[in-house]
Symmetry: C2
Subunit: 337 residues, 2 copies
């Protein structure tokens, strides 16, 4: 099988990669997120990921770019692909607890609040508008955009938003064992708040249940005029469902790894069909790549993040073979080991 | 006379405009800065300027885009030129008191402290490094960069830095009557601190006496590979002098208005000669343009700011005639009146 499930019929000359960074307080609920050594530390992960990709190393904190179980972070993959492609990525700060250690295009949002008890994204409409400014800016300077995200806990906000919009969604997880019951409990409480307050518009659903990445991504996608690819798993399905509500047609492709597709606790293809969007799956074949940490992606750990699937997809579109992509990733993550 | 004192012999296909926003506490010293209705309000000016240029209107605060005496702000000119050229500008937050109301590429700096009493830019070296990240990013996506700035009080930090570097500089002002004695008093105190502590390296001089715009501009200029133009008056001479200390050769052009050149209280051409750089002067002929506020530029009010000179220069390079540029500015500022 090839690296990509589908190769889109497009031409481009100025590709661009953006990663939207955001936090939701839900990642600090014990058991929700695997993106950090402790629940509290998940809030720092987007900052560390952006630092790794920008400088090639994390120097601001004494941490290694792998998970507690020794999996290289998806940011390592994204970094390797940026190097291979000669692309300088742009990070967007949609709302973080900790200040970034690298330059970010900042919309001056705030960390997403706990949607069980309070409005998660009070200024969702303002963030969409600022996303549109960014989308216009990117349109002037590129004709292909890979739009990734890094939001620990973001699959849970995606679950809440997709369910509130009426989809029978089951979302993925960076854990081998998706903490489905914790997520379902949270989702039940959030949906009760939404129902109790008679909320139905998609803007109010972001406000009640989303995270700051979502409205920024929606704004960028609305304004971007080139070839757009939303790089991420179930979180980008939530963005797509919101875009559909905004009247966006056709919806952009979603690009993600085969490891998200193969997550038995999720139903990404079923949800995508309901929304009416196409997904391109990237299968880098980490199982036999010769690195035990990368091989753990195949048993369902990590799976995706920081647009890693989209970054590999872009490298392939730019003419790099699957073998070259695999070798580059192996060399890069081995250097950290 | 033509619009430009010199037309550089360059070709380009992807022009870019950046405005670096920054604050220094010096702008709150009464009498130092004309960029705001009160000393305290000068701190908000970069935010309002970026808002005007991005949205075409200031809606976050009940203020008009002109000075207390009815001069259209230079940001109005920059906005008009961006519209004319079809360019989406990028703003860089080098260190501001107030959060911007539009997306900015943020280096997570802090407002410049009062150099009379404390280090003005404690993390100057870190800001240069972040500027380099931005310069590399911009190099991938453009081949011509107009780099403007908006730092109220910034001519006073420029004076301190230029004098500390050994230049016989006299800096310009946005006031008709340059508050030379206030600036000289401040500069004397700053130079005494520098002398007392035996400071001589240019990095330490930024740290002691500069503002956050300077190291960010230095970093961008060091890393940028296309045609670079520093758009501003005496403040960009300070940046150039710092670049010279960084071993940058040749130095980029400085582009500014003829109103800065004609400031009898400053000596921009003399200082430029000492540094060894070329300046392109833009003369938009506001005296007979038919707008009393713009005509006040000719008697020495405002003069320059937010890369306005550089924006007019860019419009001309992109094929717009002096008449078209003047008419566009007149139409734009008349719409605010």
């Amino acid at each position: 099988m090839g690296l990509l499930s589908e190769i889109p019929d497009i031409t481009f000359s100025n590709p661009f990669f953006c990663g939207i960074l955001g936090n939701t307080l839900l990642s600090t609920v014990p058991g929700v997120s695997g993106a950090g050594a402790t629940p509290e530390k998940t809030l720092l992960t987007p900052v560390l990921d952006a630092e790794l990709i920008t400088w090639g190393a994390i120097t601001s904190h004494p941490v290694r770019p792998d998970t507690p179980t020794g999996c290289p972070t998806p940011a390592s993959i994204t970094r390797a692909m940026m190097d291979l492609c000669g692309i300088e990525p742009l990070f967007i700060n949609a709302g973080l607890r900790h200040p970034p250690t690298v330059p970010c295009l900042d919309v001056y949002g705030t960390i997403g609040d706990d949607p069980r008890y309070r409005d998660a994204v009070p200024h969702a409409k303002d963030l969409i508008r600022k996303g549109e400014v960014i989308g216009k800016f990117l349109s002037k300077n590129s004709d292909l955009l890979i739009l990734g995200e890094c939001v620990p806990g973001g699959t849970t906000t995606a679950l809440c938003v997709l369910r509130a919009l009426g989809y029978e969604a089951c979302v993925s997880s960076s854990f081998v064992n998706n903490p489905v019951s914790i997520k379902e409990d949270i989702c039940r409480m959030v949906l009760e708040r939404i129902r109790a307050d008679g909320i139905s518009s998609h803007l109010d659903i972001i406000r009640y249940a989303g995270d700051p990445m979502m409205p920024v991504a929606v704004g960028i996608a609305k304004a971007y005029t080139g070839n757009l690819f939303l790089a991420g798993g179930t979180q980008m399905l939530a963005v797509s469902a919101l875009l559909k509500k905004e009247g966006q047609f056709p919806l952009p492709y979603v690009v993600t790894t085969s490891y998200v597709r193969d997550d038995p606790s999720a139903n990404i293809r079923h949800t995508a069909e309901q929304i009416g969007l196409n997904i391109i799956f990237v299968d880098p074949g980490f199982g036999d790549i010769g690195h035990p940490g990368l091989a753990r992606y195949c048993i369902g750990e990590v799976k995706e993040g920081m647009g890693a699937g989209g970054a590999m997809f872009l490298a392939h579109l730019m003419g790099h073979s699957g073998e070259e992509i695999r070798n580059t990733i192996l060399t890069a993550v081995s250097a950290y080991s």
